[in-house]
């Protein structure tokens, strides 16, 4: 597993305490699992995503990730309607490990309250928090 100094937590993203990331793309928010989460889970073998059109509140479970170690749930970083899902993950769940911020994205949300983005952590805050748990 990676040392904290080896983690890739890009500056332009916001992070939840459960290690989802969120990226503002104009008026939409793209969501995935951060480098720490994919590394801790290990090889991911299955991702269950919602349907486009589903609506969730911030903090609600919207996806399930299964690795050889464990099954984990993913929580909405901001509330809103799912406008697209990454169907490639169905055939190639390993994309989450290979490219957590690129091809391994999960969903794009049309946020009901874009200001919820401000409640999320910056990469620095996320890193500080991880150092605290060491």
């Amino acid at each position: 597993m990676k040392e904290i100094s080896e983690l890739n937590l890009p500056e332009d993203l916001r992070y939840t305490e459960d290690h989802e990331w969120a990226r503002l793309e104009e008026d939409k928010v793209r969501v995935g699992l951060d480098d720490y989460a994919q590394d801790q889970l290990g090889d991911i073998v299955f991702v269950e995503l919602p349907q486009a059109g589903d609506t969730f509140k911030k903090g609600e479970v919207f996806a399930t990730v299964e690795s050889v170690k464990a099954v984990s749930e993913c929580y909405m970083p901001v509330g809103g309607k799912i406008v697209s899902v990454n169907n490639d993950l169905e055939e190639s769940p390993e994309l989450v490990n290979k490219s957590p911020y690129g091809d391994g994205w999960f969903v794009v949300i049309n946020p009901s309250d874009p200001s919820e983005m401000d409640t999320l952590m910056t990469n620095e805050a996320c890193l500080e928090k991880l150092k605290g748990t060491e």
């Binding site: 597993m1 801790q40 073998v45 099954v71």
Partner: protein, 485 residues
């Protein structure tokens, strides 16, 4: 003997029977035909199934070799946490093999199956006594089925009062099947966090319990192997809001006949006969998951119920509020006979002693290994203890590596990466079966694995080295499963 029990040996490869078969080979001979031959209906004729042609010795060697690749509790220590892999005494098999039982057909009328019905009736009474509950059903086929049956009685209870509820409390240390069961009963699971001591606090339950909540699903002892000290107070909170307490009894082996669950506020619980009551399990069963309830839930138990009148046993469907039948015929009767045999051969005193020894063994392992492995919660445990790979982090060795290496030492690995609340969990449940000598060997094995992690970590990364197959590619197996031969 200082030597490890793990050793390499002559383990024979074995092809599939289809590769082994040769046309015309045969393992039996039919007697000479003594009736006229008669053509069969065309509709019934056709190609037969693709069975290989084999001799008797081909078949016997095939299955004997496969059995030699196996590891079970008859082979060695099997400390699989949360599973209670205790030894299954052979006398249980003998009783279950009695011709009166094996010859009985489930459709026999009651007056021709008095023995089987009596065994079941008495087993229900024993289980009620052991748990301190009032009534029992033996129908459920296994643990998760028992959970569902138990939760259906809670659902029926609220429905019967004319006030169905929508939520159920489930602690974060619960078995994964609990929220699934709740969902099947149309309840939404509300997670309750365990405290820093690894158990539920009364406050965290009081915070979320309300009159829309049907009750709580408690596992006691919980999946961290810890006794839920506050059960009685938690039950009072739940009851005061009109809810019910379901107890997952999968971990009963720690408290068999010692804790009267009915007296600490539990309304309904399931048991796993295939864990606590020494009936064989693994490989998919069969199991048996009886449900024990307090008086107020008895009307909802599945039918038919076994009733006794003046020494006569019969099946009765006359329970109008019952949730109905949950399993074909009477449930897994063979498993019940083995549990009955276990309870009768142990007796009340020794059942309690078995639990005490199970708890003692787990605490002995916990204390002996806590300098070697990180101990998740440093407090007295029940029948199992949970470590993690935290101390091995700097050696870049994980729980999985240590578990695989343990096989080279001749032990079945413990449960790993469960419960989820402990990162990199290693969950050890020795059960009462193991002698001190065997437990000491297990402890020594773990200690030398921790040394190897420092000195020769690759031994662990490449483990197992002595088993018939080496590290399996679990990732490809999960991502690209091949389900045919």
């Amino acid at each position: 003997m200082k030597e490890n029990v793990g050793a390499t040996g002559l383990i024979l490869n074995e092809p599939l029977l289809w590769e082994k078969g040769r046309k015309g080979r045969c393992g039996f001979s039919l007697p000479r035909r003594d009736v006229e031959s008669f053509p069969i209906d065309n509709e019934l004729a056709g190609e037969g199934p693709d069975f290989p042609d084999l001799s008797e010795v081909d078949v016997v060697r095939h299955y004997t070799r496969l059995s030699q690749w196996n590891f079970g509790v008859d082979t060695g220590m099997y400390p699989l946490g949360s599973c209670t892999m205790k030894y299954s005494p052979k006398t249980n098999e003998k009783q279950a093999g009695l011709s009166g039982f094996t010859g009985a057909h489930p459709l026999l009328p009651s007056d021709l199956s008095q023995g089987t019905l009596r065994m079941m009736f008495e087993l229900e009474q024993y289980l009620a006594e052991i748990t301190g509950m009032d009534a029992v059903t033996l129908q459920p086929a296994a643990g998760a089925h028992g959970e569902l049956t138990g939760m259906l009685t809670i659902h029926a209870y609220h429905k019967n009062r004319g006030a169905q509820r929508s939520k159920i409390l489930v602690p974060d240390t619960a078995h994964g099947t609990n929220p699934a069961t709740a969902t099947l009963c149309n309840y939404r699971s509300i997670q309750v966090k365990s405290n820093e001591q690894g158990i539920l606090s009364t406050e965290s339950v009081a915070d979320v319990m309300d009159e829309e909540t049907a009750g709580i699903m408690l596992t006691n002892p919980n999946t961290l192997g810890l006794f839920e000290d506050n059960t009685k107070e938690i039950a009072e909170i739940i009851h005061s809001k009109g809810g019910l307490v379901y107890c997952d009894g999968a971990n009963l082996n720690a408290v068999m006949g010692i804790v009267k669950m009915g007296e600490i506020g539990v309304d309904v619980m399931h048991l796993n006969l295939h864990k606590t009551f020494s009936t064989p399990h693994g490989g998919g069963g069969p199991g048996s998951g009886p449900v024990c309830v307090k008086k107020h839930l008895e009307p909802f138990l599945p039918v038919p119920r076994i009733v006794e009148e003046k020494g006569n046993y019969s099946l009765s469907d006359n329970y109008p509020e019952s949730i109905g039948k949950v399993q074909a015929f009477h449930g897994n009767v063979g498993v019940m006979i083995k549990a009955y045999s276990y309870i009768r051969s142990m007796g009340p005193k020794d059942l309690k002693m078995a639990s005490r020894l199970a708890v003692l063994n787990a605490n002995y392992i916990k204390e002996s290994l806590k300098g070697t492995l990180h101990l998740a919660y440093d407090r007295p445990c029940m029948h199992e203890c949970v470590f993690s790979d935290d101390k091995q982090k700097d050696d870049h060795v994980t729980t999985l590596d240590m578990a695989k290496r343990l096989m080279d030492y001749g032990f079945h690995p413990p449960t790993v990466y469960f419960p989820l609340v402990v990162h990199g969990a290693i969950m050890v449940e020795p059960t009462e079966t193991e002698s001190k000598e065997d437990i000491d060997k297990f402890i020594e094995a773990f200690k030398s694995i921790a040394d190897e992690a420092k000195e020769a970590p690759d031994l662990l990364h490449n483990a197992p080295g002595k088993c018939k197959v080496r590290r399996l590619d679990e990732v490809s197996a999960a991502r690209k499963p091949c389900l045919t031969g």
